[in-house]
């Protein structure tokens, strides 16, 4: 089994990337670029039940569980949110439910994007993190009940 990078290591990579930027403009340009590069979600997934409630932009999130690891896919109609989501996926995808549930996601604060997590922003990022953890929790419970 090849060693999987830990969530903290992936967070650290992002923080290092951001440390190269001098201005907020550059940070946003980078996030926008990530957003543009995130592969679009297939149309069949863009349905109401996959929507993460956010006030202004629509976010769709789906999760799959394979070989003990959770894989996320997501999309949004707003590109900055999509960039933020892309980072979350980069950090959380490919981990066990337990690891995802435990993730502190301190990188969001360290790259100065905490405001986007605030309720007031209503852009669904906070709801997004919560939804990702909910998926992980559901897979974990599924696992446990399967063991019994």
């Amino acid at each position: 089994m090849t060693a999987r990078p830990r969530i903290e290591e992936l967070e650290e990579e992002i923080v290092e990337n951001f440390s190269l930027f001098d201005s907020w403009d550059e940070k946003y340009e980078y996030i926008i670029d990530l957003g543009k590069k995130l592969p679009p979600l297939e149309d069949e997934h863009k349905k109401d039940e996959n929507k993460v409630r956010g006030c202004q932009s629509t976010v769709w999130l789906v999760a799959a569980y394979k070989d003990g690891l959770v894989e996320f896919k997501a999309d949004s109609d707003a590109v900055i949110v999509k960039g933020l989501i892309s980072m979350l996926i980069q950090v959380l995808s490919g981990h066990t439910p337990e690891e995802i549930i435990q993730a502190k996601l301190g990188f969001i604060d360290r790259i100065g994007m905490t405001t986007h997590l605030a309720q007031t922003r209503s852009n669904g990022l906070a709801a997004m993190v919560k939804q990702m953890k909910n998926f992980a929790l559901a897979f974990k419970l599924q696992n446990e009940s399967a063991k019994h």
Binding site: D25, Y28, C55, Q56, D77, A78, V79
Partner: protein, 414 residues
């Protein structure tokens, strides 16, 4: 020595800006460009210092105390009622009921007048450009009483479909509740005409003046509406202040709203009698400080002069409309011939939220989203817009900053 009042001087935006300390703020390292005035306006020193003075010098509960402070506070509170009366051209001071704002004022009418007067099979006409505040209270009562809330359609240019209005206005219509100026589009509706038509069929008329009070001279007697509501915080006053105007005879006949202190004449377990207008509708200790300071805001506006403000803001609106129309891919939503200084727009291929974030990063505050007018957004087939709304302290340079900020943001996003 004769001193010139402010209105005799030329409209000098730089001098006016001096009165608004917040405008000196930096946001994200850039000078604040505040273009979210339709959501709430900033406050002049007269209001900020007036609030401090109230709490430092004459804070007391009103109407009941015999001591000096109570008398001073009561006098200031009642002076504010006179100021509102004059501000909107009401005939009597008792026609002014203080509320937390427009929303509470609309709910007051819904829960007292409408609850009694709008019955099964009756209809309430609103417009397709109403703020949720002027839809939901009516829906609540309609559902309770088996009545219907019917929207007057909005045309492509953002004006009301007046033919449809004529058609929809029937014997069943008990109330026409209409926004004076749209917060999303800026459209100024012909409320005087609407009131005349509505009265001809026997319906009452409520005008939501949330967006008009700050931009247009208001004369409720000329409009001849039965109710008029507005929020103090959108007229340079404090949050938590606002008023309901109602024609005296109507207010007298309406049932009471909240029960409690202040709204009663005498209370006994056998029979409680209610106070006269306006106190009948002002139960409990009101928001004294903010209501007192509302007068300072209205005085501030009066001193500059509504006409002069309107003229200046219309200049800004025309300038901004021209400039924004040059921006590639930008489409203005709402092109009514008569508008307040509000511009909503969408940009091809760009989500309003992304624009809002990037503009904020440049210190420019605009509003993005549905602006609490979801049915209107549905009408235009859009999830939301970016909205820039101007006030008397907005400068032409700020509009240039908005346009430049937009150009750069759009380039980054596309």
């Amino acid at each position: 020595m004769e001193t010139l009042t402010r209105s005799e001087l030329l409209f000098d935006v730089d001098t006016i800006r001096e009165e608004f300390p917040i405008l000196k703020r930096m946001v994200k390292g850039k000078p604040l460009v505040y273009l979210d005035n339709a959501a709430t306006t900033q406050k002049p020193l007269a209001v900020i210092e007036g609030l401090t003075r109230y709490y430092s010098e004459y804070n007391a509960n009103i109407h009941r105390g015999i001591h000096s402070l109570a008398e001073e506070a009561t006098a200031a509170f009642e002076a504010s009622r006179d100021a509102v009366k004059e501000f909107i051209g009401a005939a009597h001071r008792e026609e002014i009921i203080f509320t937390r704002g427009a929303t509470e004022a609309i709910n007051l009418v819904a829960y007292t007048w409408a609850r009694k007067q709008v019955g099964a099979g009756d209809e309430i006409l609103v417009s397709g450009m109403e703020h949720h505040s002027n839809i939901v209270p009516w829906q609540i009562i309609a559902e309770e009483n088996g009545a219907k809330v019917i929207p007057i359609p909005v045309l492509e240019d953002g004006t009301l479909d007046m033919e449809a209005f004529q058609r929809l206005l029937t014997e069943k219509t008990k109330l026409v509740a209409i926004v004076h100026a749209s917060n999303s589009l800026g459209t100024i509706n012909p409320v005087k005409y609407i009131a005349a038509q509505a009265h001809a069929t026997g319906a009452k008329v409520l005008v939501d003046g949330s967006q008009s009070a700050v931009h247009l001279p208001i004369d409720v007697q000329d409009i001849d509406c039965d109710f008029f509501v507005f929020s103090g915080h959108k007229v340079y006053g404090p949050t938590g202040s606002g008023a309901l105007y109602g024609k005296k005879a109507l207010l007298e006949a309406m049932p009471v709203f909240h029960g409690g202190g202040e709204m009663i004449k005498e209370v006994s377990f056998e029979k409680t009698t209610y106070n006269d207008l306006p106190y009948k509708y002002e139960a409990g200790t009101p928001n004294i400080a903010d209501t007192v300071a509302l007068k300072f805001a209205l005085d501030f506006v009066k001193e500059i002069g509504k006409e002069k403000i309107h003229q200046y803001e219309q200049g800004l609106l025309a300038y901004a409309t021209d400039a924004l129309e040059q921006v590639k891919g930008l489409r203005i939503i709402g092109k009514a011939p008569a508008k307040t200084s509000v511009i909503s727009f969408v940009v091809e291929g760009v989500h309003p939220q992304d624009l809002g974030i990037l503009l904020d990063n440049k210190g420019i505050a605009v509003r993005t989203g549905h602006h609490c007018t979801q049915p209107l957004m549905d009408r235009f087939g859009i999830p939301g817009t970016t909205r820039a709304s101007f006030a008397l302290y907005t400068t032409y340079a700020e509009i240039d900053a908005l346009v430049a900020g937009l150009e750069r943001s759009i380039k980054t996003l596309l």
